[in-house]
Each structure stands twice: as C-alpha cells, then as structure tokens.
C-alpha cells in the first residue's frame, strides 16, 4: 500500500469537505460545459433524428445520407488524409518539442514562438502563403514535382501547418516536466543518451504523445477551412457538412454528418482514458527539475532541424505578409503599404479590432478559470467517478465539433425564447462563451496534465496544515501553476483573435470581430486588404504571445525555487 495507489472510490479530496460540495462542484462544471458546448451542439445534432418539421424519424436521415453518392470516398479521404497529416505532424512536432525543452541548443525561446506562429495567424494567411508558394504561380511549385497543390497534397501540407503548434504545445508541456534524478539514475546505470531517451523520455512522454496525436487527428478530421481552400475537388466529410447545411439548408443531413464527425473524437477520448489510467504522478514534492545536459552533437543536429521547420513556418506566413505588401499578386509586385492605408480609412475595421481584443481578453479570463477548475476536478477525481469521467468526456467534445456545428447549435440553443440565457443573444458575452467552448479541450488537457504531475500529497499537506482552498491556492498553487496559467490564457487569447467559423452565425453589427472583417474583405474581392488585415491581427496576436512569453520568463526568473542551485 503506497501513496501512488490512487483511489477510484469516494475519496475525500483536499479542500472539498462535505459530500455535498464534492458533488456540487463537478456538477457545476458539467452544467457550465453543457450549457456552453454540449446542449448547443446537441440542439443541432438532434436534428439528425428529426425531419424538417421536427418529427422524430429515427435513423431515416442516416439512411438517406448513406445512399448519397460520394459518402464512401469522402469518409475514406477524411480517414486517410487525417492519419497521414497526424503522422507527419507528430513526427515533426516531437523532435521540435524535445529540442525546445530538453536540450541546451541556442534560440529555444525563439523557436517556441515561431512554432506557435500558425496559431497566431488567421487561417487565411497560411492559405494565401501556401498558394503563393506552391500554387500554380507559386515560387516553389516545382517542389511538388508536378503534383497540384489543390488536392490531397494541399490538404496534408496545410493540415500539418495548422496542427503543428497544437502538437508542439501538448508535447512540450509533457516533456518540460520530469524528474532530473531519473536521468541521473539512468546515467548511473550506464545508460547512453539514446538508451536514456528510449527508456526514460519516451515512456514518460507517452501520455502527451497519445494526447497530441488524438487532438491532431480530430482537428484535421473536422477542419473545414483547409479542404475548402486547397482541397481542390477532394471531398472530405467536413466539407460535406458545409455543402449540406449552407448550400442546401439541409440542417437534418448536416446534423448526420456532424454526428459522424464525432466518431474519431469518441475514439480519441477512449484512447486518452486508457492512457490516463496508467499515468502516474511524475513530479513529487521531491522532484528535481529537468536540467538538460550539454550534448553538442545532438544539440547541433536538432538546431538544424528546428531551423528548417522554422524556415518553413516563416516562409509560409512571410509569403502571405509579402502578399499584403505588394500591389497585386502576382502581376504587380511593387511594394507598398497601400493595402494597410486603405484599411485604416475605415472606422468599422477599428471597431472590429477593439471587439477582437475584448473577445480575446474575455475568453482568456473565463476559459482559464473554467479549464483550471475542470482540470483540477479530473486530475484529483473530485466527486463520484461517473461524474468525473463524464466531465472528462464532455471536455473532449468541443475539439471534435466543427465551428460551424457549434455556431449553428448556439443559434438554435440560445435563440430559443424559452432559454433563460436567451438574453445573451447578440452580446459579446455569447461570443466569449462560444469561443471558450470551441477551444476548451486543449487547455483542459493542459490543466489535467499539469495537475497530474503535481503530487497529490501536496494538496493534502496544505490541508493538514489547515489552509483553506483560497489560502492554499494563493500561497502554493498559484505560484506553482503560474506558468501553466499564463500558457492557457495565452492559448485562449490567440485562438479568440483568429477564430471565425462559429462566430459567423453569432456576431452582430456591434460585436463584429476582426477575423470576420477579413472574411468580408475576401468576399468583397479585396484580397490585398484582407491579407493586410490578417497580418495586423497576427501582429496583435504576436504581441499577446510575446507578453505571454515574457510573463512566463519573468515568473520563472522570479521563482528561484525552480532552479536546483539557489
């Protein structure tokens, strides 16, 4: 019997005393998540079982969809292209994350920021970038060896670019933690660098690896933007839903596809659940923080690798930024700021930027609070096992749901006059709630991972010393979790700056955000200005990310205890 055996039963959790609170807190989170994500999604997906007039028709819509020509091809494309993109993404992201967390190569902070760039740019920018690089007029189109960008090649390329920062975030969070003494022990046992990697690093990052792979798979599987821009005529399930709902106003069939799109997320949830069962606390109160050793050969090789990846990321985005500076791609390449100048003439665009910042700040605040709470409940198993398991399940749903489904679900759910939250309709608050829900899964997993690595006995020690939740939170958990909090807030912030898909059904004249303004510009064929505006949004996001990074660095600097030598 040792402390490592984590009880599955009604264990008393530190700070949550009465049986009542122990059930109420997870219930509250389940309720919030349900209202923000599950019920709206259900409000749309339930239509899969209804006819247009709302009568229950069982599986008739599924049968109707199954007989639609092209389903098998779209499903096959979705499955295989997502798998290929996941493989490539993880293959690139793992060594990258390893290099920025576990080596002493120079420029690690810079590489981290560059890896996050795709997250900071509205999805339009990389789309432009890829087209300008590899499209029919692209400077590097020869690299595709005659293959057209528009099709499987484009989908996989763009998906890897889009999913890469998500994978790096999850993997580097997993790799950053660990116990240096295990490495010292392995060295003492004469394990060489490679053996240490295979026997210590790889197994201890297994959970992060599985998490990252499932998140990437689900992200790619459900993304609509990429196949619609560079997919050519390659049909995937995610574009089917757009065709059905938007093109044909067939919400019922769209809901069927929405239900099908949930499948990989359910699988990912099961995989995650299995992986987490075997995850043990990795940092105990006695852990010694990882102190990467100097290995010039390895560090040089990884530096080269990171340089290549960074060049690709910057190349793609830089190309789009270049596009915003030329007069008319590709026929008039005179440089100038005219696109920016024309943009700044319009007060509406300024208001959109203000709205975006407000949305991002609100999302970061609310999202961080909720993600830490739900992460804590799951990591510490607060409340009945079924409730905890349920909460973890709910938290995995948003990543599986295309923004389109979430946005329309929000309209169906919140616009119902019978809904007590109906008053939120048309406010920025509903955009905040929707964006928190949309990007909830990754921060939740980040919080769970971090709290799992924090020895549970620390909670108990604080409680045994009669510290209340607020006191322990302020004196222990806030300082220890500060870097994670900053990361989670930053993740919500930058995603809120660039998200579009769910919001196009929710924004109003007062709450129109910048990313939607970009779409309006594209639709108005003002490509140069769209690129310029997208670049502005990215610049703001980079600013936010820089604040995030320097805040994180300042915290780490201020917290002397994180260093082994004082």
């Amino acid at each position: 019997m040792s402390g490592a055996t984590v009880a599955a039963g009604p264990t008393r959790v530190p700070f949550i005393s009465g049986r009542g609170t122990r059930i109420l807190l997870p219930l509250l989170l389940v309720a919030v998540l349900s209202a923000a994500a599950i019920l709206p999604i259900a409000a749309l997906l339930v239509r899969a079982f209804l006819d247009r007039d709302g009568r229950f028709v069982g599986l008739a819509n599924f049968v109707r969809y199954a007989t639609e020509p092209g389903l098998a091809v779209a499903a096959w494309n979705s499955l295989t292209l997502s798998a290929l993109a996941t493989l490539l993404t993880i293959g690139l992201a793992y060594p990258f994350a390893y290099a920025i967390t576990r080596t002493r190569m120079p420029g690690r902070g810079m590489f981290r920021l560059i890896a996050l760039l795709p997250l900071l740019a509205p999805s339009l920018l990389p789309a432009f970038g890829l087209v300008y690089l590899f499209g029919n007029q692209g400077w590097l189109r020869g690299w595709l060896m005659g293959e057209s960008l528009y099709g499987p090649v484009g989908i996989v390329l763009a998906s890897v670019f889009y999913a890469f920062p998500h994978a790096v975030l999850i993997l580097s969070a997993g790799l950053a933690a660990g116990d240096q003494r295990i490495y010292e022990a392995a060295r003492a046992l004469r394990a060489g660098p490679w053996r240490r990697f295979v026997t210590v690093t790889l197994p201890s990052s297994r959970y992060a690896l599985i998490s990252a792979a499932s998140i990437v798979y689900v992200l790619v599987f459900t993304d609509f933007g990429i196949p619609s821009v560079v997919g050519g005529s390659t049909n995937v399930l995610a574009t089917d839903i757009y065709k059905l709902v938007i093109g044909r106003f067939d919400f019922e069939m769209g809901a069927v596809v929405g239900v099908l799109l949930l499948a990989p997320a359910v699988a990912a949830y099961l995989v995650d659940w299995l992986a987490r069962r075997s995850q043990r606390a990795m940092i105990s109160g006695r852990s010694v923080p990882i102190a990467p050793e100097r290995m010039p050969g390895r560090d040089l090789a990884l530096f080269g690798f990171c340089l290549l990846v960074a060049a690709a990321v910057i190349g793609i985005i830089g190309m789009a930024v270049y596009g915003s500076l030329v007069r008319f791609w590709p026929y008039n390449l005179n440089l100038g700021l005219h696109n920016y100048a024309r943009l700044l003439e319009d007060d509406d665009e300024f208001r959109a930027i203000g709205n975006s910042l407000a949305l991002a700040a609100g999302t970061a605040a609310l999202g961080t609070l909720l993600a830490m709470l739900s992460g804590w409940i799951v990591a510490r198993r607060i409340g009945p096992a079924a409730l905890v398991q349920g909460l973890q399940g709910l938290a995995m749903v948003p990543v599986a749901v295309p923004g389109l489904v979430l946005g329309l679900g929000y309209v169906f759910f919140f616009n119902d006059p019978a809904n007590p939250l109906h008053a939120l309709q048309g406010t920025l608050a509903i955009l905040v709630l929707c964006t928190v829900a949309h990007f909830y899964t990754v921060p939740h997993l980040m919080a769970v991972g971090e709290l799992l690595r924090l020895d549970r006995e620390i909670d108990m020690a604080a409680q045994a010393l009669r510290a209340g939740p607020a006191s322990a939170g302020r004196r222990i958990f806030l300082p220890v979790l500060a870097p994670t909090l900053v990361d989670i807030a930053g993740y919500f912030f930058v995603n809120a700056m660039t998200t579009v898909s769910a919001l196009i059904f929710l924004f109003t004249a007062q709450t129109r955000v910048a990313a939607i303004a970009v779409i309006n510009l594209v639709e108005g064929s003002r490509i140069g200005q769209a690129a310029a505006f997208a670049t502005l949004i990215m610049a703001l996001s980079i600013g936010a990310a820089l604040i995030q990074i320097s805040l994180r660095a300042a915290i780490l600097r201020a917290q002397r205890w994180r260093r082994r030598e004082g």
Binding site: G3, A8, G9, R12, E457, A462, L465, R466, I476
Partner: protein
C-alpha cells in the same frame, strides 16, 4: 477477530504481561471499514491508542495500512465505523478541522517555499503575529537541526533534510497527533537509522501521540511502543514489539517480524509433539493441536552442539550450508529423520566456535520455552 490474542500459543514463562499502562483512549477507531469499489481495503478495524504512545501500523504492500492512516487523517471517508480523538467524534470532520500533523512518504514539501516558508505555512493561517511566528519557526528549525538551511528550497536539500523539514512542518501547529506515512522509506540505511532514533526521541520529548505506517519490521520493532500488524485490510495482531515477536498470533505475524522455523506437526498431545521425526516437549501443554499446526522457533533459539544429543528437543541434523553474517553465523540444517525439511540456526559469531562445515553432523537443540505451536498458512 480484531484485537484477538494469540491462539494455541505456549506462553513462555518469562513473557512480559500486558496491561501495565492505563486504558488507551486518545485515539479510538471502532469498526472502521473502507471500500474502493468492490474491494474492501480496510475491514472492521478497531484500535485504541493512548496519549503519548508511538504506534506503528505494519504490513505488506496493499494491506490497507496507508488507507487506515488516511482515514484517521480524514483524507478518506469511512464507509462504516467511527473515529474518536481526545473524546471527540471526528468521523465526519474534514482534515482541516481535525488535530494532527502529517509527514508523507514523498514529504510533499511545497516546492515554491523555502525551508522556513514550509515550516511557517501552517502558522500563517493561525493569525499569530509575525514575531511569534518567526520564533516558532526558529524553534522548530533548531529542533530538527536545520537552522543553517532556513533559506534553501526543497530541491536544494538532501533526502534526510527534506524529511526533517516535513517533520518540522507537521509539528509546527503543536498537534496532539502526529501521523507518519512511511516517512523513512525513501532514505538510505544509515540516514534512516539515525533519523529513526531522532524521531523517536523527539516524539518522547514532545509527548505527541504518533501513528506511523511502515512495511519495515526492523523500523517498527525498534521505534514503536505498540505494533498493529495488518493483512488484507484487517488487523492480525496488536501488541508490544516484544510480545508480538515472542508470541505471534500466527505464522504470518511471526514471519513478518523476523525469520521463523516452522516444522509440520506429525502428531501430538499435551506437551508432547512430534515433528521432523523428532519428539519435542513444549514449555506448557496444549488442550488440542490445531489442524495444519506448525512447530515454530526462531533461528536464534537454536543451539548447536554434541552435548544436545539424546536430550529432549534435540534434532540430529546435517549441515547444508553456513554463512557469516557479521554478528551471527547462519547455519542451514537438514534433520536426519526428515532430510527434506530445513532448520535455520543462528549462532553468535563472537564466541570462539568453529564454523560448521557443510556435510558435518550436528545436533540442534531448542529450549521448550522457545517453542511455539502456530497455525500454518494452509
């Protein structure tokens, strides 16, 4: 079953009597039961611990001893039963409303606070003024001998130092009860022995009641006033280290506290027992020989020598192997009448005796008072 005394035991004449101290009542559990899902982890446990007593809960991995400790602390809530501390029913109280200090196996030091900060943590929530707090921290630092390291962070300390910080932190609020969850198991042997003695001395000095969970019988035997031996969630036996060592309730307890020879009983009546083809005489007669009974004695109770031949409790045997163990020489014997059995003997190495050679014929003798008749393990 809970506090059952040893059954079918031949009580040696010089065994110490129980009951010298007043009825233990500082910490009492009654019928404590805890389930995790379908498994019963703690089963109907009733114990009583007196003020100032040092009690060790001892048992193999998975016996429920840590869960019992966590029930006492309030980190787990019992499914049945009650806990009283100092006359107060604390069964339903959350940990922060109870009165105890705890040291964890991992120490669970707050990584973001230095040594003084860790010790001061509990004091900060009590509202005592800054100066009094500083005095108390200094006092505790001196108590555990860490005054020079007050400003260091946990990651800069050795294991032993971290353990002392955890101890000082647990004692900071002057709790009536000190709970220790395998506090020494992560330390190396000599640090461990020194800290064990220090811990014991400190507990005596402060007069705090202590409950320690451990799986190390040496540690338990040398530190505790009383031992609680657990197996599979239930208590096997409670008593002083000496009593348990000398009068174990069964072979499990006997073997958990030290090596024990066990020879299957072939026949017996009254004080006459036959085992390993040899007639043995017990110190006192038994009413009935239990089924699957084993005749047991500690290796240290065996003496070797030709002078034993013909005497009662003398087993002619052949030496299988002999090994030097520092203080003692451990000799493995095969009785001549039952060569498939083994008897272990321990002879002091300081006495100038020749180390027996393998194959040598010897006679092993055991005093009747050192023989126990225990129920075997099936």
């Amino acid at each position: 079953m809970a506090v059952a005394g040893p059954l079918h035991v031949v009580r040696p004449a010089d065994a110490p009597e129980e009951g010298g101290r007043p009825a233990p009542s500082f910490l009492v559990t009654e019928g404590l039961t805890k389930r995790f899902g379908a498994t019963i982890v703690v089963r109907d446990v009733s114990i009583a611990i007196g003020t100032g007593e040092f009690v060790c809960i001892l048992g193999p991995s998975g016996c429920g001893k840590t869960t019992l400790l966590r029930l006492i602390a309030g980190f787990e809530q019992a499914d049945a039963g009650a806990i009283r501390q100092a006359g107060r029913d604390i069964t339903a109280l959350p940990p922060e409303a109870r009165d105890f200090g705890i040291v964890f196996q991992s120490y669970a030091l707050f990584p973001n606070r230095d040594v003084a900060g860790n010790i001061a943590f509990g004091l900060e929530s009590t509202g005592i003024d800054r100066a009094a707090r500083a005095r108390r921290v200094a006092e505790l630092l001196a108590l555990v001998g860490l005054a020079p390291h007050a400003g260091k962070y946990p990651s800069q300390l050795s294991g032993g130092q971290q353990q002392r910080v955890a101890l000082a932190r647990a004692l900071a609020l002057s709790p009536g009860l000190l709970l220790l969850d395998e506090p020494l198991s992560a330390l190396d042997a000599n640090v461990r022995a020194a800290l064990r003695d220090e811990l014991r001395a400190l507990q005596r000095r402060l007069g705090v009641t202590a409950v320690m969970v451990t799986h190390d019988q040496q540690e338990a035997l040398s530190i505790a006033d009383r031992l609680i031996v657990m197996r599979a969630g239930a208590i096997e036996q409670v008593g002083t280290p000496m009593a348990l060592y000398q009068q174990p309730a069964n072979l499990f307890v006997a073997r958990f506290l030290g090596d024990m020879n066990a020879l299957p009983v072939e026949a017996g009546q009254g004080a006459e027992i036959r085992a390993a083809g040899t007639a043995f005489r017990l110190g006192a007669p038994v009413d009935a020989v239990p089924p699957r009974a084993m005749l047991c004695f500690r290796p240290a109770a065996v003496s070797l020598g030709a002078e034993m031949r013909g005497a009662a409790n003398a087993v002619p045997a052949r030496v299988v192997s002999a090994g030097f163990r520092g203080d003692v020489i451990r000799v493995l014997l095969a009785p001549e009448a039952a060569p498939e059995l083994r008897i272990e003997a321990e002879i002091p190495s300081l006495r100038p005796v020749p180390v027996p050679e393998p194959g040598e014929r010897v006679v092993a003798g055991v005093q009747p008072a050192h023989l126990l008749l225990l129920e075997g393990e099936g």
